[in-house]
Assembly symmetry: C2
Homo-oligomer: 121 residues x 2
Amino acid sequence: MTETPLPEPALTEIRLAAVLHALADPVRLRIAAELAERSHEMACQAFALPVTKSTSTHHFKVLREAGVIRQHRRGTARMSCLRTEELERLFPGLLTSVLGAYRTERTAAGPVAEPAVGSMA
Amino acid sequence: MTETPLPEPALTEIRLAAVLHALADPVRLRIAAELAERSHEMACQAFALPVTKSTSTHHFKVLREAGVIRQHRRGTARMSCLRTEELERLFPGLLTSVLGAYRTERTAAGPVAEPAVGSMA
């Protein structure tokens, strides 16, 4: 099956403010955390996000254009993965601490605060 | 001289997305980095920021309302400091990695990319 990469910034084009902006949203934080936990690429439709499909597509685009995730089309699916190693090289510890903070906050909020990503609800 | 604290979120009210949003701006990153380097409170007017006074006031307000900085009025001055210890307790390593990333990016951009904070230019 042909794979078509979607446009993304080169490593030298990634800006801290854009990365922070991309992560400064509960839905996008959730996407990044889920990708980090799975540690392999996922289809956008595999995320059960509490938003419409077009809003979801927008969130993935913001993450990709900031350099946080990489995406490619595989047939009709759009696959995503975190640019973990590149971001670590560029901004050591940043993604780890943001995702750690996200998990801390979710734990503090309790398990019923929002449905788990990937649930079939 | 009387000191009047300005409104701020309690530790339990601080949200990760709001902190990241507050830091997702070059001017606000610069304010946070400068406060971190000085490690004591500073008057807003001590920052030579490349923005108008009202924009500057807005940036400090966004940082304060997100819980990143604490501010109080002292006479006619508005003093600011980072909420370093509280943020570290809430989101360990987050502020350190963001400010480290900011310094890395500034160093890569070179010394002429923007005037130094605090310069009299």
